[in-house]
């Protein structure tokens, strides 16, 4: 187990290093750089060259990369050219905001999607399962971009919740409780925009999995022993049937980050996605690399947690045995 964990940690470190280096190099090799974007068209070449020298952008690619990498392994990601602040502090704050949004959305989607999937997977007929199935296919067809626009429309029309942003200016001055309350009314809209399509996705996977689990011989023998059907479904089958959902969690995290990007842009949530976008537009290569590192760290952590959970849910996968094909990716 320790060996397995160590291998996974190395793989995670490699992922973070590759993704952040890739982002840095891509931004560096792109046409134009921070200095030329800063002054725009119509600036003198001398002016741009001076800014380039000031920001250290005139060094050769190799040296620039090596010096960045050697500082990055000591967790110093340099200063953002755009904001003149350390990338680590900047990214940390924004990553926290994105994590808050993503975790709330994921919890909501799981809490709704799994029971719904169990209902539709264990009951073939009936009005209730049919209603869930229809709702699910509709929500699945409303991706986060569309969903957030629809929710903004509803919020703007009804004035129930604010249409954007994360907090009202000065809300935290009135105390922690007022600040949290303010956060709590800003959170539902962006969180739902991410969570609803995700819940539908989880429902589909869970439904399929419950159906397959209940078709296994053990389900029949459990029923034959006189165990009530609801107990079979909600206790015995549930644990086995959770495995496929857990195995897509690693993948879901990618979806979650993708979804949170559009939602952050539409609802002006100050998260990582917006920061990375600003960095990309301004060719702020250190900021982009820092955001990429944070994003890949998020994904690596998530897929590790998902594998640990899988090992708990399905004993057949424990102790370094090869994962089945379905569990990978």
């Amino acid at each position: 187990m320790l060996h397995y964990l160590a291998r996974r940690l190395v793989a995670a470190a490699v992922l973070v290093a590759v993704v952040s280096s890739g982002a840095l190099l891509l931004t560096r090799l792109a046409p134009g750089d921070f200095a030329s974007e800063l002054f725009g068209a119509g600036s003198s070449a001398e002016q741009v060259a001076r800014a380039r020298a000031r920001y250290g952008l005139d060094q050769p690619l190799g040296r620039q990369y090596v010096s960045w990498m050697s500082r990055a392994v000591r967790l110093d990601f340099g200063d953002s050219l755009l904001y003149h602040r350390p990338v680590l502090a900047l990214v940390g704050q924004r990553a926290l905001n994105t994590s808050l949004l993503a975790i709330v959305a994921l919890l909501f989607a799981t809490a709704v999607g799994i029971p719904a999937g169990i209902v539709t997977g264990s009951r073939r007929r009936g009005v209730f399962p049919a209603a869930i199935r229809s709702a699910s296919i509709i929500l699945l067809s409303l991706p986060s971009l569309v969903m957030s626009l629809v929710l903004v429309l509803i919020a703007a029309r009804t004035q129930w919740v604010p249409t954007g942003g994360m907090q009202t200016a000065g809300a935290w001055d009135a105390g922690v409780m007022a600040g949290l309350a303010d956060l709590a009314i800003h959170l539902p809209l962006p969180a739902l925009a991410i969570a609803l399509p995700l819940a539908a996705m989880i429902e589909r996977v869970q439904s399929q999995s419950v159906r397959e689990t209940l078709a296994m011989p053990f389900a029949m023998s459990t029923l034959a022993r006189g165990v009530p059907r609801h107990r079979l479904i909600w206790r015995d089958a549930l644990r086995l049937a959770l495995a496929p959902v857990a195995s897509i969690y690693g993948f879901i995290l990618g979806t979650l980050l993708s979804g949170s990007f559009v939602v952050e842009v539409v609802t002006a949530w100050p998260g990582l996605g917006r920061l990375m976008y600003d960095g990309l537009r301004a060719r702020d290569l250190y900021l982009v690399a820092g955001c990429a590192a944070a994003g890949s760290l998020f994904i690596a952590t998530g897929s590790l947690l998902s594998d640990v959970f899988l090992a708990w849910a399905d004993p057949r996968l424990r102790e370094g045995r090869r994962q089945p094909a379905a569990a990978r990716g």
Binding site: V19, A30, S141, P143, V146, V152, R157, V262, R328, G329
Partner: protein, 325 residues
């Protein structure tokens, strides 16, 4: 049955986009100065007095220029005429303003016309990208599944690496690393290629597992024993067995690429405002006040929903992954 309806709807939507010049009542780029953000003008058959007529519309009358509020002038009926002036439907008398069935955007352009022409752009990019991703993925997956061993492992590792990255960020980073100001054809080609670069691993994975299973079957062995070369066995004998999975992948990729175009254009890295596309239309509508006041400018969101819904119904209950961002 459900699948047949979904397929019919999907092809209907594609056909409508293709037939945009004949269906749109107005030119998509034409701005009607007096009709900024005008509300939709649905065709009617019953007038105010409750009498039935052939389809007609009421013309709009400006109530407040400041608030951009209009009302229908109920005193005149403008009959809808079919097949006039090379278009499916229009109004005979346009001296009192244009017919805007889905209203106008903030610059006074016909939303329906832009939606139809935008469908050409959005569906076009998505179709082109889907074809490219299918070709790339089938090739990579075919080679990986057929050769096995180290090549297989290396290619699938690469595919898994691309899959684990959040697609939107990869697309965003690739797009912004390329020159920002390009002609619309260059944007079209570039976007399709970027989407294909992100989408191919899905196809490759599905094709690879099918090929790896088919490779061991008798017909493949007999093809080899008859002296068929590697490429012949792979392309003539094995790849046709992947038709099913490739079809499912195509239906999964198409809506996600439409969404990708919308996302990219929405944040301003896609098509510019002069080229109608569903994304560039949403970009123009991306203002909370505008969304609340003029919800018809969100029509492209409804179009994206319709296409995605058809695609989801088409592949419902099929394996091959119903989860995809």
């Amino acid at each position: 049955m459900k699948r047949a309806i979904a397929a019919a709807c999907l092809s209907g939507l594609v056909l409508m986009a293709a037939a945009a010049p004949w269906l749109a009542p107005n030119d998509p780029g034409r701005t009607f100065r007096g009709f900024l953000s005008a509300h939709p003008m649905p065709p009617r058959v019953i007038d105010d007095q409750g009498t039935w007529h052939a389809p007609f519309v009421y013309p709009l009358r400006l109530v407040s220029r400041l608030e951009q509020r209009y009302e229908e002038d109920r005193s005149v009926r403008l009959p809808v005429v079919l097949f006039a002036g090379g278009r499916l439907a229009g109004i005979a008398d346009d001296t009192r303003g244009p017919w805007l069935p889905l209203g106008a955007d903030a610059e006074g352009r016909d939303v329906l016309a832009r939606l139809l022409f935008g469908g050409r752009t959005s569906l076009g990019v998505a179709l082109f990208a889907t074809l490219a991703a299918l070709a790339l993925g089938a090739l990579a997956g075919g080679i990986a599944g057929y050769s096995g061993g180290a090549i297989d492992t290396a290619m699938m590792r690469l595919a898994e690496f691309v899959l684990v990255l959040p697609a939107v960020y990869v697309v965003l980073a690739l797009r912004s690393a390329l020159p920002l100001v390009l002609s619309s054809w260059e944007v079209f080609a570039l976007m399709s290629l970027i989407f294909a670069a992100v989408g191919w691993p899905w196809v490759a994975r599905a094709v690879r597992s099918t090929i790896a299973a088919e490779r061991t079957r008798d017909y493949a062995a007999s093809a080899v024993s008859l002296g068929a070369g590697h490429s012949r066995v792979l392309f003539v004998h094995l790849l046709p067995a992947c038709r099913g999975v490739i079809g499912v992948q195509a239906i999964l990729l198409l809506p996600s690429f439409i969404l990708a175009e919308a996302t990219l254009s929405y944040v301003g890295l896609g098509f510019s405002d002069t080229v109608p596309s569903w994304g560039s239309m949403l970009h123009q509508a991306s203002n909370v006040n505008a969304i609340a006041e003029f919800p018809w400018t969100l029509a492209p969101a409804a179009a994206i929903f319709a296409v995605t819904l058809c695609a989801n119904l088409l592949i419902e209950n099929r394996d091959g992954g119903e989860f995809r961002d």
